[in-house]
Symmetry: C2
Subunit: 214 residues, 2 copies
Amino acid sequence: MSGAAHLTLTTDVVPFAIHGERLEVLLARQAADWRLPGGPIAAGEELDAAARRYLAAQTGLNDVYLEQLYTFAQPKRHAGQRMVTVAYFALVSTDFPSDDGAPADRQAHWIAVNELPAQAPDGAEIVALAHRRLASKLAYSTIALQLMTEHFTLSELQAVHETILGETLDKRNFRKRILALDCIEQTGALERRRGHRPARLFRAKRPGQVDFIK
Amino acid sequence: MSGAAHLTLTTDVVPFAIHGERLEVLLARQAADWRLPGGPIAAGEELDAAARRYLAAQTGLNDVYLEQLYTFAQPKRHAGQRMVTVAYFALVSTDFPSDDGAPADRQAHWIAVNELPAQAPDGAEIVALAHRRLASKLAYSTIALQLMTEHFTLSELQAVHETILGETLDKRNFRKRILALDCIEQTGALERRRGHRPARLFRAKRPGQVDFIK
DNA sequence: ACAAAAGTGTTTTTGTTACACCCATGT
DNA sequence: ACATGGGTGTAACAAAAACACTTTTGT
């Protein structure tokens, strides 16, 4: 009746960010290769606390949006040792450094979701599942705001949606829809970039909070 | 670094069925009181296999639709022993016996979701979460068919939707929508009940399979 | 003949999609 | 003056909601 024999409970986190029209995942160095951040859950620790702890320790990420994805059991991975993984995904704002330091020194680095290396067991499947979940949530929540910096333009927000969905959206329809959600407001400031009209900056009305639609 | 100390991994299952316009949950006897079916996962066992095993052993249910819901950790439940629960919900067809035998003898019994007893830790929350998930899936999948008997009338299917959603639906709009999904077909037979026109019987085109919409 | 649930279309309203031009800036 | 992305409204279409009467059976 005891299911506890040689059981290791771990978390894996899929940390997403958008960098230059690409959806990327932050991988952590583990021995020779790159893996999703994560590791065993400590005694008395909450699951999401463990996920946050490994994110911080292995990648330096803090204060991200975190959501439980799915729980996987690998019935017998290596000799007697059994592993159960609670998978999470995290959304990281675009201004978190995309990659710093020399490639060899980094303890973590971003890689595009469609260029994942042969990786941790099930790593690619977990990422694919997280990607699907994220894409479907765009339709009925304000979750994309968790990927934005504090201030952002509507075109930037649209580009985030387009990157996740893998399709282009109509500018006027997108703006109509987003503004109707009443989830963002103008800051009053403008973002000026060379060579064209400055864009209005917006911010989330309820930063950190994900609202559902309808 | 070892998260395995005194860790018990368990499953809990929320088995739903519709009985007479009520959404009910099947509880299993555990010592003095009634609990969601479930228990510790055996070594080398898949998570959903454990859920099915406990359902069968504690309630007699077999071959139900099963879906993972969420994973909960109770950081320290009783003295050192830690419990992590992978929650599932199950959908049971209406013809599974609603309750048989004398109340005192039963090893399991159905109870309406809005009349749950003070129960297992988090029992009511797990049921509520499962109920919300089920209700939202009605909008974009054919999941409700998993609650039906092999043959059923459109009015019965509509009643199942109404019971889960807690609101009445328009008969013509409901039929238009369901038939457009191309998930059910007429059997040719009629169900005749006293006192009114007989109803056409339908069956699922792909029983056991849940299709998604759009 | 009456009660009770089954069955059936059309109109109205709402939301979604498609679409093209002017604006403000930097060079 | 030109290149670049920012910003804006309307018409067509599709989907969802509202709505009432006839049919078939049992009593």
